[in-house]
Symmetry: C2
Subunit: 333 residues, 2 copies
């Protein structure tokens, strides 16, 4: 589609060359019958297909001026893979709706963006199978991820939790929020030797696909990925399950380097970790019966962080005493 | 996700209330096992799922200032249904990634947008099954449509055409481009009594779903929907089929009212109709053997407009003589 102010011919060339560039780089992987180049992709998704979409917008979710387009591409795929992971599914294919800024984007920048997407897609066995491209006010990506539930597998929804279930996360929290504080210059990288790892956690998150499938198979009752912070995402899981959540701050696993960054920001480390977004660990509810055996499994790193109870909302407590936290929400630009 | 400059709490309320509003309005239709409210939608799409995405951006594809959000919603669904139609498929579910402008959007405006989407989705038996929402520089929609090929049905790709095939369209062309000229004040609505119908063709296109399925069943070899103009989309179909297209201007069916608008613009009506975009008729290639029986079928309105031949690109001819047209492309803002 043409940009306002650009001539039709100019834009058509941009769209054509951009699409040719992307198509040449996109491999077709199992489950994709027909990829880029037709009116729609043809996929093998079965009777329990999974479908989700996430937006990444310049100036809101990333800064193009940071000059790391490959990480933007990586993240655009990874955050969607995380949604498939949170259902216990396996990813198959992605569609990329790309808004290019009106002032254009060079082939190198577009190439880096797609390289980041293609690498992360390849690592998960996913084809980039289609998309759309348009000019617009700012660089933006809407990535749709299609997947499927493995035959016979349970679907890990948000709605299956019950009062009395225990809540677990799949790894330490706070790294991405700490990375953001460094990236934005709010905290000095000199505060911790973990600074590069924290920035990497922000820019190159990893979806917990194997963990999601294992937890679904192990009988987890409900699950969600932690994109907007443990406290807020626990509230969401609880709401869909028709109950309330309690998070015990003293149990929250805090990632390496986060205490130093939290200190530099004048924040409590556990509270910072419980409200920081974009870690993409999974939060799951396990019945008291399953909790012991699953949490003891050597194959899964699980940290108990709280429980579900009657009521609504999410209470954050320290040693059993509710505390007011800075925001229900999360650390985000 | 929070808007830059908005407080987390402000935006969280907006996202929550917006999602609640959308969820309340979204019906779950056959093929959708789990709709809005989880990490991913669960759908029954089978082993030949169809997936496509289209962007609609304020200032590029529509003008929010025109105050007709219901039509924007309608069109966001319809243009995607058209891609499913062009594959000979049946639509199942849509995901809506919605970028709200930083200065916000009232519940009435959001409601009208979703009413337009939900009505058009309902008419096609489609659930709005998920999505994402963020603040950004301008109102924008990325709608993903998921569908499936009916059991035993052929898939109508762009790639199946061969030299010697005849090209047909499913209805008269040029109405949407003429509607755009009226909408933008480039042509006077007084030029034709069909002006309201032309503007409606632009704002409320209809996807040719039944036609796509019938043409696939009738043995059409290749198909595409005409979104960017007959000449350009014929070139695309030909390129994917490894041959060239010729369009015969004297055969191009011209929609009512288009000759008057073309005259007001100083354009030849057939050329205007052959290059104007957004009509969403289907363009199909039929082998010479099938062409007679299919084109004679009372159930389908088919107009022969040209043929495929050896070579590449698209030649536009009048009475067999190639003519230079203003642009290979299309009428678009």
């Amino acid at each position: 589609m043409p940009a306002k102010g650009a001539t039709v011919a100019d834009w058509a060339v941009t769209e054509r060359s951009g699409l040719a560039q992307i198509r040449a780089a996109a491999a077709t992987r199992p489950g994709t019958t027909l990829g880029i180049g037709d009116d729609a992709a043809v996929l093998d998704l079965g009777d329990r297909a999974l479908a989700c979409v996430d937006l990444l917008i310049d100036g809101v979710h990333f800064r193009r001026s940071a000059g790391d387009m490959e990480s933007v591409g990586h993240k655009a795929i990874a955050v969607n893979l995380s949604d498939i992971a949170a259902m216990g599914g396996e990813p198959v294919a992605a569609l990329v709706a790309l808004t290019l800024p009106h002032d254009g984007m060079g082939p190198d920048e577009l190439g880096a963006l797609y390289e980041g997407m293609e690498r992360e897609a390849a690592a998960a066995g996913v084809s980039i199978a289609g998309g759309d491209m348009s000019a617009g006010p700012a660089l933006a990506l809407a990535v749709t991820l299609l997947g499927r539930l493995p035959a016979g597998a349970r679907c890990l929804t948000r709605a299956g939790g019950r009062p009395g279930d225990l809540l677990f996360v799949t790894g330490p929290l706070g790294a991405a929020a700490a990375g953001l504080a460094i990236d934005e210059g709010r905290a000095p990288p000199s505060a911790t030797p973990s600074a590069p790892a924290l920035v990497r956690a922000l820019r190159r998150p990893r979806a917990r696909l194997a963990e999601g499938r294992a937890l679904a198979a192990a009988g987890a009752r409900a699950g969600i990925d932690i994109s907007d912070g443990l406290a807020l995402d626990a509230a969401r899981l609880a709401a869909e399950s028709g109950c309330a959540a309690q998070i015990d701050l003293e149990r929250v696993p805090v990632a390496d380097g986060v205490p130093e960054i939290a200190a530099a920001l004048g924040r409590d480390p556990a509270e910072f970790a419980a409200t920081g977004g974009e870690d993409y660990e999974l939060l799951v509810a396990l019945g008291p019966g399953e909790a012991g055996s699953v949490a003891g499994s050597a194959a899964l790193e699980l940290h108990r962080v709280g429980h579900l109870q009657r009521g609504e909302g999410c209470t954050v407590a320290r040693e059993g005493v509710p505390v007011a936290i800075g925001s229900a929400g999360w650390e985000y630009p």
